[in-house]
Symmetry: C2
Subunit: 146 residues, 2 copies
DNA sequence: CTTTGTGCAAACACTTTGCAAGTCC
DNA sequence: GGACTTGCAAAGTGTTTGCACAAAG
């Protein structure tokens, strides 16, 4: 569930990258902020752990972590890019285009759609962190009242 | 098909906005660039029509047009925000997270999912311009070969 | 004639880059 | 020791804002 057991050092080395403290901290930060961490979130957490780590380093570390596959980058639209530990439970997101609220839905909800799209278009929907936009219950009401 | 027949002047006025040349041109630009226009696209087209129109004006005009509902703003992730004329045919998008390619799929493809999500979560998926991320055929191969 | 919209320029937030010093292997 | 990384500071990007002038109703 955490990344403690995964040999992330190994993964980095395998890709020719070095294992450094800033990278560990950035990885920890993404892990700590369970769920989706915006760049802002990550920067905040990293800053708490070690204020000397530079913003640019965080950007570069995230790039590396995404490239080696330890971290997944998704785009929830409203919020900008978000980062999460790879290999977490499969789940998708309903993002309200009005208020930005995020709901999680189980992967099997979209399983049939996924298969139909694969068959018809030879297009493989994202396994985890698929994002679906729309209106949440409250914002539907707000819109109706207007 | 174009916005010629719609009384867009009326729509603007109804919302308390004035009908101005820059706004018309921005609307024309979105309309001209059939499909999804990025902000860059719009700026380019507008600049061609009238180079004196300022960037800031375009941003403001788009905001207004989206607010009154003449233009729809969606977020395809990779490309950033895109704009399209409201009321065009319903269709959704498959966006490749690798190469950014965009495929269109018909609305009824997701109809059942849409209904299930409405029933289960009281969440109304976007009627048009829903965006689904994943890997296109080519990028699946590329990834497999790697 | 009053209110709203525009162009300009400056401010802004966010991200990227170049480089010397520091760190990992 | 040599190559990769970092921090710093500076340069980009793309977007927003304040304000005097122009235009719409």
């Amino acid at each position: 569930m955490t990344h403690e057991n995964t040999d992330y050092s190994e993964v980095l080395r395998k890709h020719g990258y070095r294992v450094t403290i800033p990278r560990m901290i950035v990885l920890d930060a993404v892990c700590a902020h369970k769920g989706h961490a915006t760049i802002g979130d990550v920067q905040g957490i990293v800053h708490d752990m070690d204020p000397t780590i530079d913003r640019s380093t965080i950007y570069r570390a995230l790039d590396v972590l995404v490239e080696v596959g330890l971290v997944v980058e998704s785009d929830l639209g409203h919020t900008g890019k978000v980062y999460s530990i790879a290999g977490e439970a499969n789940h998708h997101h309903l993002v309200c285009i009005q208020c930005g609220k995020v709901l999680s839905i189980s992967a099997d909800m979209v399983a049939t759609l996924k298969q139909r799209i694969r068959e018809t278009y030879d297009f493989e929907l994202q396994a985890d962190h698929l994002t679906l936009n729309g209106l949440c219950a409250e914002c539907q009401e707000k819109k109706a009242t207007t």
